[in-house]
Amino acid sequence: MLSYNTFIQHKAPSARGSSVSLTNGEVMKTTIRAMDRKEKAVLITIGANLVLVVLKLFLSEASGSVALRASAWHSIGDVFSAGLVFAGYIVARILSGKKGRLIANIENGIALAISGLIFYMAFDIFREAVSGGSVADLRNIWPVTIASLVTIAITYFTARYKEYVGKATDSISLVASGYHSRLDLYASILVIISLASSALGLGALDRFAALVVCLLVAISGWEIASHAIGALSRGNESAGEASNSLVHARISGVIKAGVAILCVFTLLSGFATIQPGESGIVRRFGRAVRDVQPGLAYRLPYIEKLDTVATGELRQAQIGSTLVLTGDTNLVDVDMRVQYRVSDPRQFLFGVVNPAELVARSAEAAMREAVAIRKVDDLLVGNRAEIIESIELKTQALLEANASGLVIASVQLVSVAPPADVAEAFRDVASAKEDKNTYISEALAYRNEILPAARGESTKTVLLAEAETRRKIDASEGEAARFALRVSAYGSSPAISRDRLYIETMEKALPKARKYIVDPRVADAPSQLWISRDAINPQSR
């Protein structure tokens, strides 16, 4: 193990040919060759790592393993840090002095940014590994496991190669990078084991392996960051040169860093947001300890559990078409909907195992009871509001008795109808009502037709009689007047008038008749008078 102090003295060579520890030309030549070899080695490892990244990503998609994905990120992290090392070599070779420092600072800044990215990747893996979803989703396990052995082989050879070249070229950073790759190897082995064991049923190991890898990723990020910060504040050394070397030397530091990062991540994962209209309840070790209002909420992971209940949400239960017995032993088909909401989140979560089912059953029972005391006609055409109210009250009472934490918002009787088999007969009753009204209307129309006519007729009869009476009286008055005048006329010379009138009348009357003038003696004595036929003569008078 090399100490920190030794590294500080090992400054990046600022020009081709200068050596850190020897000054003669032979060493210089060796150093040049060594630098080329170093750079070549780093480039090769970058390439190998890129291959690993692609392979691991593909395998992680094929299997759905979180650990494999974490491992892929880890390799990406390695690509970045190797890239930084390479950049460091280039910078160190080309530039020197003040300009070199500026470039070094830029490089450190970039390194810092990259470390931030690596941190984020680690946190993401952490969150996914920890999130409570289903574990058993790993597919194609055996082919993926075997393919992963390839990644192990690549990683192993990369590690060995770096260590070898590093030792040969006396580059501490390369050796450290090789050491880093060894860690990667162990992590990959862990991933393989977890894959294999998930095939045997221990799915949870996948998550555990992911956590470990995530830790390593975070650590490598932390290494880069801390050294970049250190380098920036001290104003020397590029990040790449010393990053790989720094903390690997202090294994306890790694553990401490790892634990610290893990703790920070875990604590951060305790944040959650509660939407307006929701209510949160936190349980600590199973016991409910506090209610949480809408907004940002925090709970201690693993120790506390946060449940959110949508208290504002209007929930619905549907009681589909059912035949119900009415009070007068008829059957009706009822279709009902119930809207309810949560009034007490604690009771809702801890009281009943299936609150929605309780609502449905209670409503159904209440509806049956309400229907069983009513007549079928009241249900079909009567006052539904009254029935609905009684169902609402009854259901609410049942829900409260069971401490369900629910409250009924409304009940709707979507349809109350006679069963299909008898619907026709019910419809006919409605028709019969109509028919009855029609009959009565027609009769009234008839009445309204004949009575006015009769009244008219009777008035006419009376008026006619009146007219007739009037006429008779007028006639009689007229005749009376005429007679009175004649009397007065007659009275002046009665005998003459008498004779005159008599003779005038005879003149008028007698011509029409057949006359026989006989001797008075014949006319007086009652006897039979025979008149011969030939005496009857049209011309005889």
Partner: protein, 295 residues
């Protein structure tokens, strides 16, 4: 070094594993029973964090302490008045004695199976004591459904108590006639409706006939009253006329008789009338040269 590194990663992992195997939480919705080699040794009825010896020495059984809902199946029962009804009931129950529960029925499935049997037999007994009209009636006061529920709840809860749980409510989810009876029920409903329809129609006819008859009667009355009044008027008129005539003619009855007779001769003597006139009649007086006394 590798071993040390291995340990430093492996040791926290192992510690973590041990923690998860020893410690456990009991939630507010649960009862927990710790069993040692299958036999229960501790019952936990309060939520919190607890410890036990890891499996396989000690195991943990978790029981849901919340209210459970049991849905019965459709069963046919006979009421007191020998009517066949189809009933489906549901019951709400919860564990009252976790240890007893675990010992006797072990889990919810066992509890529900036991409850199913008890409910079928007890409901049958209870329903056999009620008549159909106690459950289904139009008189509000007569309904005994709440009483029935209460009786069933008490009885069934008592019967399951030895098994470590209690029933809080038994209610009828469905009350109906069996399929076989349904046809005859529909038949009766149809006949009932038909009778109502018939009655309505005949009421309509009755009402209509009444109205028509009343109208006809009124018409007849009107007309006959009018005829009567008309006759009265005519009678009055004739009487009046007769009065006038007699008043007028009464002034000179002789003259009237004379005039009137003359008028009648004119009318009476028509074509075809044969008159036999004596030659000494007043009219023919002047025909007889002897008999004339012209003066």
């Amino acid at each position: 070094m590798t071993i040390k590194r291995g340990l430093s990663i492996g040791f926290p992992a192992l510690a973590f594993l041990v923690l998860t195997l020893v410690f456990f939480t009991v939630d507010t919705t649960e009862y927990a029973i710790v069993t040692q080699f299958g036999a229960p040794v501790k019952v936990i009825e309060e939520p919190g964090l607890f410890a036990k010896i890891p499996d396989p020495v000690q195991s943990l059984i978790r029981l849901d302490r919340r209210l459970q809902i049991f849905n019965g199946t459709e069963t046919e029962f006979l009421t007191k008045d020998k009517k066949n009804i189809l009933v489906q009931a549901y019951a709400t129950w919860r564990i009252s004695d976790p240890l007893q529960f675990f010992k006797s029925v072990r889990n919810n499935i066992g509890a529900n199976l036991r409850l199913a049997d008890i409910m079928t037999s007890d409901l049958g007994a209870i329903l056999g004591r009620y008549e159909l009209t106690d459950m289904v009636t139009t008189q509000l006061e007569q309904t005994k459904l709440p009483m029935l529920s209460e009786e069933a709840t008490k009885l069934i809860s008592g019967r399951v108590k030895p098994y470590g749980y209690e029933v809080t409510d038994v209610r009828l989810k469905m009350l109906n006639f069996p399929e076989a009876n349904r046809k005859s029920v529909f038949q009766r409903m149809r006949a009932e409706r038909q009778q109502i329809a018939r009655q309505l129609r005949s009421e309509g006819t009755e009402e209509s006939t009444k109205i028509r008859a009343a109208a006809d009667a009124e018409k007849t009355t009107l007309l006959s009253a009018a005829a009567r009044d008309a006759e009265k008027l005519r009678g009055q008129g004739e009487a009046e006329a007769a009065k006038i005539y007699s008043a007028a003619y009464g002034k000179d009855p002789q003259f009237y008789k004379f005039l009137r007779s003359l008028e009648s001769y004119d009318k009476v003597i028509t074509e075809g009338t044969t008159l036999i006139l004596p030659s000494n009649s007043e009219l023919l007086k002047y025909l007889n040269p002897n008999g004339s006394d012209l003066r």
